[in-house]
Symmetry: C2
Subunit: 321 residues, 2 copies
């Protein structure tokens, strides 16, 4: 993805993401499936995450309930989006600057600060929200949760997600109890976006999820679950006046399934060893005239430093286990 945007520090204009989208149904099962996919993916990756879920209609309903005028809604959402990041004092200051009255603010904070289980929140909102939009949002949330409620899924009333195109369910994935507060992915329902692009009036119901490959990779690296590999090469062949024969030896070893590479630049032995060290290549095989005659080659274990004279068959066995 390339975005003409000014992303915050540590995020980029160009980045990779992996998406799953369901187009063509308004059914909340599709929304729930996106959340279930997220749970499955992070379970597989062994990353302990929380999927925070809400609904844009719920958010609009809450804002309406507090008596915020139509024209201020977007401004207010921008501040709501900061609930986790800044203190309550700062939130209040921002609200005041944007012209939110004390009465409106008290109502907003009262609702957003409600604590309880997902079911408690649904029941609470059913009582509190009076607008059609708000009610519909709660109903959608209730449905989504009926399909995917459980460990790792939390209804977060203040979840906004910055992007304006969401029309219903929204969700965002965070590490549980971690200093890493960036989102690992998220998504939601965007029933109007496709129609808007087509410049017609038709609605194309759609819901999707994006996985952020960069933050996920960072997390996996932090937890030592993946390490950056500099090369896949397992064996490096250094020909000593035996280029033609060495090419054939490399091919034979590749036939046996060994990831073999050879010096094609005609570097000296010590430069080749430096290269192998720098790339953490575990084994080096020296092929000289004498070795060719004997049918045995000097294999150097770069980790232990050990050397030995081995036939190609023995090299194969050693490397392939």
């Amino acid at each position: 993805v390339w975005r003409a945007d000014r992303p915050q520090r540590g995020r980029y204009r160009e980045f990779y993401q992996c998406d799953v989208d369901v187009v063509g149904t308004k059914n909340m099962i599709a929304d729930a499936e996106c959340i279930l996919i997220a749970k499955r993916v992070f379970k597989e990756l062994e990353l302990d995450v929380e999927v925070e879920v809400s609904n844009r209609k719920v958010l609009n309903g809450i804002i309406k309930e507090a008596g915020i005028p139509e024209g201020m809604v977007t401004d207010v959402i921008v501040t709501v989006d900061k609930f986790k990041k800044i203190s309550e004092g700062e939130i209040e200051k921002e609200f005041r600057e944007k012209g939110v009255t004390t009465e409106q603010m008290d109502k907003l904070l009262e609702i957003f600060k409600f604590r309880g289980s997902n079911t408690d929140k649904v029941e609470y909102l059913k009582k509190v929200l009076t607008s059609d939009e708000g009610k519909q949002g709660v109903e959608e949330m209730e449905q989504v949760l009926s399909y995917c409620d459980g460990e790792g899924v939390e209804f977060n009333l203040a979840l906004a997600r910055g992007l304006a195109y969401y029309t219903g369910t929204v969700f965002e994935i965070f590490m549980k109890d971690s200093e890493f507060t960036s989102s690992l992915g998220g998504g939601g329902r965007y029933n109007k976006m496709i129609g808007d692009f087509l410049e017609g009036n038709q609605e194309f119901p759609a819901v999707g999820i994006s996985f952020g490959l960069e933050p996920i990779t960072v997390m996996l690296q932090k937890q030592g679950k993946i390490t950056e590999k500099k090369t896949v090469t397992e064996l490096f062949v250094v020909p000593i006046g035996t280029v033609k024969e060495s090419v054939k030896i490399v091919e034979e070893l590749r036939d046996a399934g060994i990831k073999a590479e050879m010096d094609i630049a005609g570097k000296g032995v010590s430069k080749n060893l430096n290269y192998c060290n720098a790339l953490s290549i575990p084994y080096v095989l020296f092929v000289g005239e004498d070795e060719l005659k004997q049918g045995k080659y000097k294999l150097k274990d770069m980790t232990s430093g050990e050397e030995g004279l081995l036939s190609l068959d023995e090299v194969r066995k050693k490397l392939m286990g």
Copy 2:
């Protein structure tokens, strides 16, 4: 790749290719490795191919030897490139139209029509070519062949490859004894291209190979080695008034490694069966209230038409073998 080109019929402006390139060495081992990779890839794919190899300097040497003036070289190469596609009569006609004299043409055809083993061709050209460029080309060919000569590699004196940027070795991969005459891939050495892009004078020796994913896919399909899969879904769950429970069943089956999908559009049974038939989904599981009570579900084998009442555990065993 997207090219601003007018490709011949059956080829496209946008296409996929898979490339391997070695940058930084003039050593002919790199050229040979590209050819060896091609042999390895097509052996793995079980496609019987011939890698035709030549060297742009050899081609220039031959053209020079025939006494073609500098300004006509590109035109002549365009015709040489058609040697396999059109008859000798047509070749002669094209040459004549381009102003090639009878004497020049006789010399060209004499050389191009030389038949023999790769070694014979190298020895023949060593005698015939007198220009420095031609001699250097033959020497490079000899080196490349010393590393990768053998079954499936043929020195084709008339191999030009249309692209102007090749500076040395060129190769192209064709099906052996097949009506399918499109190239499955090819490449060569392009020592000047990178420098040209950088608009400096530095040379960056480079050689690479491209595999044409489209023609390779077509060949594999023709030979029945791959068939187009419409879906990976192995089991389709049809909830009958049991959406909430069905979501959980689908998740359980996925946990067991089964690629399961469920109706999320609330279609009727017969529409769902049509969908499964159209996509060749092998199994359908019906989940009604009664089935839930019994803990046994109706599994329909879409291939045989057989139906049976199975527990989820039995479904798992049946599908996972």
